[in-house]
Amino acid sequence: MATVVVNVALKPEILDPQGRAVLGALGRLGLTGVADVRQGKQFVLTIDGEVDDAKLAQINEIAATLLSNPVIEDFTVEVRP
């Protein structure tokens, strides 16, 4: 069993209304000094067996096509043993 975490975030140049709403709320709750908030998605995949290079390549491909939209989003893939 292995865990693969894919984080997907809007590209920096794309407006993130959810992050902005959180930023506004933080201010109202009295947390000061927050310069920016961005909201992204995190996918946690539980994989049977080992994640070898072939599987990792496949997961990267899926992160690039299914889990994120390259027009607006960036992603990272991280394997946690």
């Binding site: 809007l10 140049e13 794309i14 407006l15 209304p17 959810q18 709403a21 299914l66 889990l67 939209n69 027009v71 607006i72």
Partner: protein, 230 residues
């Protein structure tokens, strides 16, 4: 033969019956197409209807683009088949890269349902040929992720090539860049639009009947092309 317009149903499609009704009211024959059936049943045009395909949980339209019928549709689009994507359908078209850009969460973060004024900006596409440039129409808009985005270069290109087919008037309801409500590809056969023309085809149930123009446009275009006769 009456023009046959296919309407694809994905799991979670909601406005498929409405799109079919609009096709019929405009004088066409509607043909139900099923997402899992990799066959377009030789229809003359296709509508990708609104809704929440696969729940839209991941990203609107992201999962639908992998449906078996979509592979056929992408090929057919490249061959010139007229395709109209409405709302979720528009999202499927951008996810499938048949149209540039992407649709993102509304800037105010709410789902919004309102009667939306638009200005028609292009009447060379097969779905807008019955309009005149500058026509102002009022049709329903309802979405949670309708903000059109693309990089500046793409936006400039869309503008420069006259590929914006409709723009929001009075109110930009979702933060779309340059008030873009709908676009077409260069060939003019693939059109995506966020508001819902199929909900404005009967005085009784819609704010106007302005939406009919999209459906009469395609039927006329098909007839003029000699694809079908009436």
């Amino acid at each position: 033969m009456t023009p046959r317009v296919g309407v694809i149903t994905f799991p979670g499609s909601l406005d498929d019956k409405d799109a079919a009704r609009a096709v019929r009211l405009a004088g066409g024959e509607s043909v139900a197409l099923w997402h899992a059936d990799a066959d377009l049943h030789s229809v003359d045009a296709v509508v990708l209807p609104g809704g929440f395909s696969y729940g839209d949980y991941l990203r609107c339209g992201a999962i639908a683009k992998f449906a078996p019928v979509m592979e056929k549709l992408v090929d057919a689009a490249k061959g010139g088949l007229p395709i109209l994507g409405i709302c979720n359908g528009f999202q499927v078209l951008t996810e499938s890269h048949l149209l540039p850009g992407a649709l993102t969460r509304n800037d105010h973060l709410h789902f919004i349902c309102r009667d939306q004024k638009l200005r028609i900006e292009n009447n060379t596409s097969v779905w807008t040929s019955e309009f005149s440039i500058g026509d102002e129409i009022l049709i329903p808009l309802k979405n949670g992720e309708g903000g059109y985005v693309a990089d500046e270069k793409t936006l400039d290109q869309l503008e420069g090539d006259g590929l914006v087919i409709a723009r929001y008037l009075d109110v930009n309801p979702n933060g779309s860049r340059r008030d873009i409500a709908g676009i077409t590809n260069e060939r003019g056969n693939v059109v995506g639009i966020m508001p819902h023309p199929e909900h404005a085809v009967e005085k009784l149930t819609g704010p106007t009947t302005d939406g009919l123009g999209f459906f009469t446009s395609i039927l006329k275009s098909l007839v003029n092309d000699g694809k079908v006769s009436v």
